[in-house]
């Protein structure tokens, strides 16, 4: 059985990682290469880097940045933002990207998906779709125009598969940075409509959001951006707690948090005093690879 993937999304604005809240408020987190280095260290399955300014401002992807970041990255790296042509995709893969993420281009010229897929394989193309609820109806959102467009969502997703996308990334605009949990209802309506893997993103609050998602839907992969920045070993911790519930989580770091209880805010709790006391003279050999 394929493992469920936990993906960290790094939202990039002006060359730095930001927290995005509702697609309009941004908080500066830090340098992308440092974020990538630590996400790797913490055992993330995949990293997606999305430049939210490039397409809006008509800029090319930042190849230098990807080159710098990919040196620290030992997991699949997807890159989005500013991709328009086959040459862009080629330059990105040569800079170290394993996959590219396209969003706006999919509705402007879907045949580009086919063109990219023929050159680099379907597995290289992630079609990203921003979804927004409007009068309780789920719609596709165009972030460059800041409004929804009238496409049938299911037809649109099927089309993306038809044109050759290898994966679909669903992004829930209403939940972005608001920590409401994943939109389970909508995800269930959409998952079985296409045969390619779907990644969902938007709303992850803590490890419970992931448990909820994987228990209630058949989704293959979940992405989160903001909350991985909040605490030490956030990824390792999330995967440890998840793997206590589900067998389909990859845990390959030499350290983990499976033996910890959590508080109401889903942060770790103290081990019992006697457990800590017993540890007092135990030598821990550092892992050397």
């Amino acid at each position: 059985m394929l493992k469920k993937r936990i993906i960290a999304t790094l939202v990039i604005k002006n060359g730095i990682v930001v927290q995005s809240i509702g697609f309009k408020k941004y908080l500066p987190v830090g340098k992308p290469d440092i974020a990538v280095e630590f996400l790797n260290d913490w055992g993330i399955d995949e990293i997606a880097i999305i430049d939210i300014d490039a397409t809006k401002k008509g800029l090319k992807p930042d190849y230098k940045l990807i080159e710098k970041v990919s040196k620290k990255c030992f997991v699949p790296l997807s890159v989005g933002g500013g991709i328009q042509t086959l040459d862009d995709v080629r330059a990105l893969t040569q800079s170290g990207a394993d996959k590219v993420i396209i969003n706006n281009l999919c509705f402007k010229s879907p045949d580009k998906i086919t063109e990219f897929a023929l050159a680099f394989g379907n597995q290289c193309i992630i079609a990203s779709v921003d979804l927004k609820r409007e009068q309780n109806e789920i719609k596709i959102f165009d972030y460059t125009l800041n409004k929804t467009i009238d496409y049938n969502v299911i037809d649109y997703l099927k089309n993306l598969e038809h044109y050759g996308a290898g994966e679909i990334l669903l992004n829930f605009v209403d939940r972005d940075g608001l920590y409401k949990g994943f939109d389970i209802d909508v995800i269930n309506q959409l998952t079985n409509q296409v045969s390619i893997p779907i990644i969902v993103q938007g709303g992850a609050k803590n490890v419970n959001s992931f448990i909820d998602l994987f228990e209630k839907t058949s989704i293959e992969a979940a992405a989160a951006a903001n909350f991985f920045h909040f605490s030490e070993h956030s990824v390792t911790f999330t995967k440890s707690i998840l793997s206590n519930k589900l067998s389909s989580i990859r845990t390959e770091t030499n350290f983990g948090y499976s033996d910890f209880k959590t508080d109401s805010n889903l942060r770790i709790l103290k081990k019992d005093d006697d457990v800590l006391e017993k540890m007092l003279y135990v030598k821990i050999e550092p892992e050397i690879i």
Binding site: P28, K31, I34, D263, R267, K270, E287
Partner: protein, 414 residues
């Protein structure tokens, strides 16, 4: 270059800054939460966390508090020990640039609060080697202080199995709004490496040119992941739970515990960082050279956001203090064993060309990148002052045991 219309930060802030559509920066925006959040609720959240960490076996401390002879140390210990009745172990990294007032403040802290304290004093020769190396590579004389302050508490947590570390304000939240208070951000090695260490870990300093070996840096090595995960080390920041106002807090500490203030070279704040000869002096002067602004801007912006200074009053203070020359440079160069000329030579390698140019006399000249805003735009985002004045007290100097010509390495108990 974009500047915030409310405070005086621009988008080149080394901790990064996002300026929104109204022209207000992320730091100011997150700071607004201080007047919106329900702090009583936050305080009970803190209580909930602390309760889980109380030691029942009575064989160990409840938590670790990193302290110094300044900077909110009294307040943090006051809150944790006297308000929440925890049993903390205090730890302090000896910066070695100690002032007399700082040494006395630290001594008075252990006496007034009756706490145990552990000190890490790294051998001065290694510290000097490291300081030479970080000056050369990063233009920083403060790397060892920041590295030591942020690593020693974690080392002690791991060694003595005390999983909770309590910090004061998270600089990223308070200055640039890196996170919302609601995110309840905790200590990470990632933040430390990126912002405190400026990207250079202790191991990265090993270099034959600088004659630095593992022996020199071993005191600054961060515990490995597994050691941290086994103990479950967590560092929390009090400013996520308490409405942080360093001026008001220090003034309370002046009254309650006889905290000692000190006039500083490059800022009006007489409360923070009084323990160090360099922080508001040589170190801050370097900051001005590297980043085009000094600690004065941080303090002015803080007071603007706390509604004690207007933008215009703030600008006057910035213009007055940021150009001041350091007074303790000779002390520093003597300690390090270099001439002032070589100091300037090295620091000039890190001089930021956005803010500095040579004039016709080949002297460095500051380029002011700030273009004055339209008054209406500034007024639109202005905060109304809640306090008419922004005066910082000066306490009388207690009996001195200073050598004056050099740093005091270790202070006596009383």
């Amino acid at each position: 270059m974009k500047y915030c219309k409310r405070c005086h930060y621009n988008e080149l802030h080394p901790l990064n800054l996002i300026i929104d559509e109204e022209g207000v920066c992320s730091g100011c925006r997150v700071h607004e939460e201080k007047d919106e959040l329900n702090w009583e609720e936050k305080s009970s959240q803190l209580n909930e966390i602390l309760n889980q960490y109380r030691n029942i076996s009575e064989n160990n401390y409840d938590c670790i508090i990193p302290v110094s002879g300044a900077r909110d140390s009294y307040f943090i210990v006051h809150i944790i020990k006297n308000v929440f009745k925890m049993n903390p172990l205090l730890v302090t990294y000896n910066k070695q640039f100690n002032t007399d007032a700082g040494v006395r403040n630290l001594a008075n802290l252990r006496i007034k609060f009756g706490c145990d304290i552990m000190t890490l004093t790294v051998n001065p020769e290694s510290v000097k080697k490291i300081t030479r190396a970080t000056m050369r590579r990063l233009g920083s004389i403060y790397w060892h202080c920041l590295a030591g302050q942020t690593v020693f508490p974690v080392q002690i947590a791991v060694k003595f199995k005390i999983p909770l570390i309590i910090w004061g304000a998270h600089q990223g939240i308070d200055q640039v709004g890196m996170f919302s208070h609601l995110d309840q951000v905790e200590m990470t090695r990632k933040y430390r490496k990126e912002h405190d260490l400026m990207g250079l870990e202790a191991e990265d300093l090993i270099d034959s040119f600088d004659e630095i070996t593992y022996d020199d840096i071993k005191s600054f090595v961060y515990p490995d992941n597994e050691s941290i995960a086994r103990v479950g080390v967590r560092g929390i920041y009090l400013n996520n739970f308490i409405r942080w106002d360093t001026k008001a807090q220090h003034e309370e500490m002046l009254k309650l515990y006889d905290y000692e203030t000190l006039e500083q070279t490059r800022t009006f704040d007489t409360y923070n960082d009084v323990d160090c000869y360099n922080y508001s002096d040589v170190h801050d002067y370097i900051k001005f050279i590297k980043h085009g602004y000094g600690k004065i801007s941080d303090h002015v912006n803080r007071e603007i956001r706390l509604k004690r200074l207007s933008r215009e009053q703030g600008l006057e203070l910035i213009n007055k203090y940021s150009i001041k020359k350091p007074e303790n440079l000779a002390k520093f160069t003597n300690w390090l064993g270099i001439t002032e000329n070589s100091f300037h030579y090295i620091i000039d390698q890190h001089r930021n060309p956005i803010y500095w140019r040579r004039n016709e006399k080949w002297e460095w000249e500051y380029i002011n990148q700030f273009i004055e805003f339209d008054q209406n735009e500034v007024d639109a985002v202005r905060l109304n002052l809640v306090e008419k004045t922004c005066n910082f007290n000066i306490t009388p100097v207690k009996k001195s045991s200073d050598h004056k010509s050099q740093y005091i390495i270790i202070g006596k108990g009383k």
